[in-house]
Symmetry: C2
Subunit: 391 residues, 2 copies
């Protein structure tokens, strides 16, 4: 089976982009990726998106985006897996390419959240939870995560302050990222006195709502990738070593253990095994920190920390500059932003740029391998991909 | 590249299935397909669905269905391409299998339309049209198709009666189909005096709204398929010879020719070419007749009739029993029913059963090749697949 390489990446700044339609955001990211790949054009487009049906009243999103970007005719479709849509689109696009059905695939993600009323967006995002068993009873998505956070804190004896070191660092990293939605530093005091959203989760513990689009361009075969490198003058190749997806229940009530995200465990194990690597080989990680507690359970369930230990390790300075792995130097969902269905593709773009050494923000220490981790719901679905630098 | 075979199919009756949730419908179809495949279980699920986000307020649909059906853990995601979601899910599932990422894939479609108010469903289905350029101005999806129908009738000089032979035959075929939503015959008089929905389209010219689910199970490699045949005792194999997808604009205003569905033309040509067949080799077809005019433009754009001639040819008795190809013996979207995101998978199930000789309704004349054609919007996206019987 031929190997798959990333030959171009593009993204827009994340924010309240009132002046731009989703199709404009997508076209902007796609054409940046095409330019980054020396002009190479996609033969198919797979796009991750969560809320276009509900917030834009628009289906057939794949065709709409392809047409507007100048690619009317080619296969183009939307993949929906809630906030994990981008990561799962990467899985589907990777399969499309590996299958031999097409030779160049654009995997994109786009989301447009800020034009609706906050209540409408809160309801739309709650669709990641179980409509019949959870949302019907009035809980929001933040409410469900707050219960997980409280259980985690009680079980492992952590305080609000202990968990707040994550957002503190994320804001610092984002302050260097020109694409970030919240590129500003914060303080523990500001975090701990920010408004309560759903006890114990405060405003500064949770990812903001934003608009954005990101795209990566993939090709099959090392020879093809090297040809493109000649055009772009880039001397490193980035290989997609593996992409894995696993699922769990949507409703939390039927989980075996509320503090272990089994789909993250499964997807991480499979992605590493398919990439012929172990968890110790990973130099750089972009993981899914929609809430502070999610960052910690993700570190644990991906395999980077024992269960319950991630908060202490992070507070002690692990996973930061010079450590292995270095984690979320983009600023994460927390501060780079979380345009839900696009987030997984942002992570892929950032991981690729860190491997190439051209990420325009806080730089990792010359990583050779990178992992991304994107989830839908409370890890109802997890996508984990491993990227490798190839000389 | 290894070949792909269908080893099991399953579907539910289509109708107003108030007593069943979408996840129950899907599980029923999936387990029928598993039984049909001698107990073979899927390693991944790709599901076509259009309206779960809007009508069920439920995202993460793939994981929800996988979990309920007993497959928590495996990769499972939703593909959205409006009414073409089922056909496009087949494309994504076929790619997933051909890529080697998994060895057994269940491609499913499910839709639950009848629990919402009719107006809500009308609005949900209009999301297949352009939200900004079309629906915003008040047009419904039937309204847009009515304009196409009027233009077609004026351009090629046909009457309401001329176009009504299609639904007349569809109802006849459906009367033999135990899975059909409208298994009853009708008359030209009943069709021509049925209520006007959007002039010139009358109630009996258009597909009904219904609930249903269908699943096909695919494996890679002839050897694997033959092993399963030993278990099931089936002596014919059905190969997926090709699956192709093409797109067009969502809005009609930017089309070159309102009566030529270019994505259908493109997808048909590519599917035939990849299957190494010509249009004359196709024995049996299930095509997308959401409206009477859609049946005729589809026959033309797939390549079975010259532009403008399909109505006359159909009225003269072509595409019926003993002809080549025989078309829509299921009763079509018109009378078998049209659970939108599931329709493409119903077509695949029916085509496979006709090739195997075990379709429980109106039987084709021992076909060796079959084509299915499923579209989203007004052929904004078209999926065409070719199936072959292999001894």
């Amino acid at each position: 089976m031929e190997r798959v390489f990333v030959v171009g990446v593009g993204m827009t700044r994340i924010g309240r982009l009132f002046e731009k339609h989703a199709k404009e955001l997508f076209a902007e990211a796609l054409w940046r990726a095409i330019e980054d790949a020396g002009g190479l054009k996609p033969q198919a487009i797979v796009v991750g998106n969560m809320t276009s049906s509900v917030l834009m009243q628009q289906d057939s999103l794949g065709a709409l985006l392809a047409d507007y970007a100048g690619f009317r005719g080619i296969p183009a479709f939307k993949v929906e897996a809630a906030c994990g849509s981008g990561g799962v689109a990467l899985y589907a696009g990777y399969a499309l390419l590996k299958s031999g059905l097409v030779d160049v695939v654009a995997v994109g993600g786009v989301e447009k959240l800020t034009e609706a009323y906050t209540e409408t967006v809160t309801r739309a995002l709650a669709q990641a939870a179980d409509a019949d068993y959870e949302v019907f009873y009035g809980v929001t998505f933040t409410g469900l995560n707050a219960m997980i956070a409280r259980l985690y804190m009680n079980t492992f004896n952590y305080t609000d302050e202990d968990l707040s070191y994550w957002p503190l660092k994320m804001h610092e990293y984002a302050s260097y990222n020109p694409y970030a939605q919240l590129p500003r530093k914060t303080t523990l005091k500001e975090i701990l006195t920010s408004p309560l959203i759903a006890d114990p989760i405060r405003l500064f513990h949770v990812a903001p709502i934003g608009d954005g689009a990101a795209v990566i361009l993939l090709v099959r075969g090392e020879e093809r990738a090297r040809e493109i490198s000649k055009v772009t003058g880039r001397d490193v190749l980035v290989e997609v070593a593996s992409v894995s997806v696993a699922t769990d229940s949507v409703d939390l009530s039927s989980r075996r253990d509320l503090l272990t995200m089994e789909s993250t465990v499964l997807a991480s194990r499979e992605a590493l095994s398919k990439a012929k690597l172990t968890i110790r080989d990973i130099d750089y990680v972009e993981l899914h920190d929609a809430f502070h507690v999610t960052a910690y359970t993700s570190l644990e369930d991906l395999g980077f920390a024992p269960k319950g230990a991630a908060v202490k390790l992070y507070k002690d300075g692990m996973f930061q500059k010079g450590d292995k792995p270095e984690v979320n130097f983009s600023g994460g969902l927390k501060a780079r932003g979380h345009p839900v269905g696009a987030t997984g593709v942002y992570q892929a773009v950032e991981a690729v740029m860190q491997l190439r050494g051209d990420f325009p923000g806080y730089k990792a220490s010359n990583p050779e391998t990178a992992m991304i981790h994107n989830i839908g719901g409370i890890s109802t679905i997890a996508a984990v991909a491993v990227f490798k630098r190839v000389k």
